[in-house]
Symmetry: C2
Subunit: 252 residues, 2 copies
């Protein structure tokens, strides 16, 4: 059996009680920090919490060599600890299909994810978010995908959550802003969120250009590109994200 | 200080370690089951876990009379336990703005939410979901909002997560299907999800019409109306949601 356990957003204490119990009772406990990171903790602390040694999986273990872990899960209960909520990363669902095909049962224990946390931190309404996208480090020309997604979302009056690339290192907002502007996104308002789930998250709303110069501190960072605002969203952004007064112009 | 603590999806063990610690050290602990429910538990079990009596807030405490709780939070540390992830419900962000205006600091401890869990359970990719919407019990003519949102999302090739009304009682999929069909939605494929976060979630993909006749068991229920599918999403729906073979036709 293969149990994917969400660890939530920031440190080792963001895992649920159910998740800790499942990890403690598994035969083997693995963790992967390839699809996301838990910036506020380290392996040693997680090992202390679970009370045992933890195997760290790399990209290869999750993708090309995932069969060997699944093979092992035919005989043992294997817990895979994952930052955020499992399966939001497509890597996990590919692994889960492979497991079920090989006759290995799978289970998910959910954790907090940035895709809901961003609503709480910004005050933006969940039902006003459209598709999300990722801003990748450019190899050659920057990908137009995130900008196209923002434009698609604008066509239905929806905000866009942008995840920032994690490899080779977590991308910060200034770099993301530069890439987005180069790909043709400009003259718009956005909200930057840093260190969601920590005791000191930073949430700041401004023009995309100005966010590129704002000091958000360390990662992880995400960006939300805004569409039109509900009046309550506007109130929240003023209160929680020091939004400039002119965003009142975005209120429908 | 007012701390909103997410309890996750199903029972009292879905809260994070951080959430339990914060509730245990608060002066007053409240819980609200107005914006959502934790079907797998009861107040008594939550009280045993936290080790103290818990005050149950009703709609009035959260909305019209929210000032009295906030006034109390000027002098005491008040923890508000909330199903799912706090602030996904707009009721919470309204309360949070009110608190900050009255000079009361607020904090959020995140929990697992159906909006990320639905990706794990169905295998649908988070970045392919558009706006979400709610299916409300009709008073007179059914609202066209959810159907309009589905159509907006289709225009950008995005799936739609539909929350089902909770009042006066949690709506189940057959009722939601009836309301949606009456509002003009038909000839489409959807996925029903029941009891996310429990040990026995049910996930079933079929035509909207057929889902209306499927036995999902008890609540809570949500529905995802499908747009075009990525090949991996198709594979997941076949494996995890007993999708009928003809959904291959939805693959882009």
């Amino acid at each position: 059996m293969l149990t994917f356990i969400g660890m939530g957003l920031w440190d080792e204490k963001d895992i649920s009680l159910k998740g800790v119990e499942a990890a403690r009772s598994a035969d083997v406990v693995c963790v992967e920090f390839y699809t996301s990171k838990l910036v506020g903790t380290e392996i040693k602390k997680i090992e202390e919490l679970i009370g045992r040694e933890i195997r760290v999986l790399d990209r290869g273990d999750l993708e090309d060599n995932s069969k060997s872990l699944i093979e092992e899960a035919k005989k043992k209960n294997i817990a895979v600890l994952v930052p955020g909520d499992p399966m939001v990363a497509t890597t996990h669902s590919a692994m889960r299909i492979e497991a079920e095909r090989m006759g290995v049962r799978t289970k998910i224990i959910h954790g907090a994810s940035i895709i809901s946390a961003v609503c709480g931190l910004t005050g933006l309404h969940n039902y006003r978010f459209g598709k999300s996208a990722s801003v990748a480090y450019p190899y050659g020309k920057p990908s137009r995908t995130p900008v196209n997604v923002v434009k698609q979302n604008w066509s239905i009056d929806a905000h866009t959550l942008l995840f920032l690339d994690l490899h080779p290192e977590p991308m910060l907002i200034p770099t993301a802003v530069e890439i987005l502007r180069e790909a043709g996104l400009d003259n718009c308002y956005a909200v930057g969120v840093a260190r969601a789930g920590s005791d000191e998250p930073v949430v700041k709303c401004d023009t995309l250009e100005k966010l590129g110069k704002y000091d958000f501190g360390g990662g992880l960072h995400v960006l939300v590109v805004l569409a039109a605002l509900h009046f309550m969203e506007y109130e929240c952004l003023k209160t929680f994200a020091s939004a400039p007064p002119e965003i009142e112009g975005l209120v429908e």
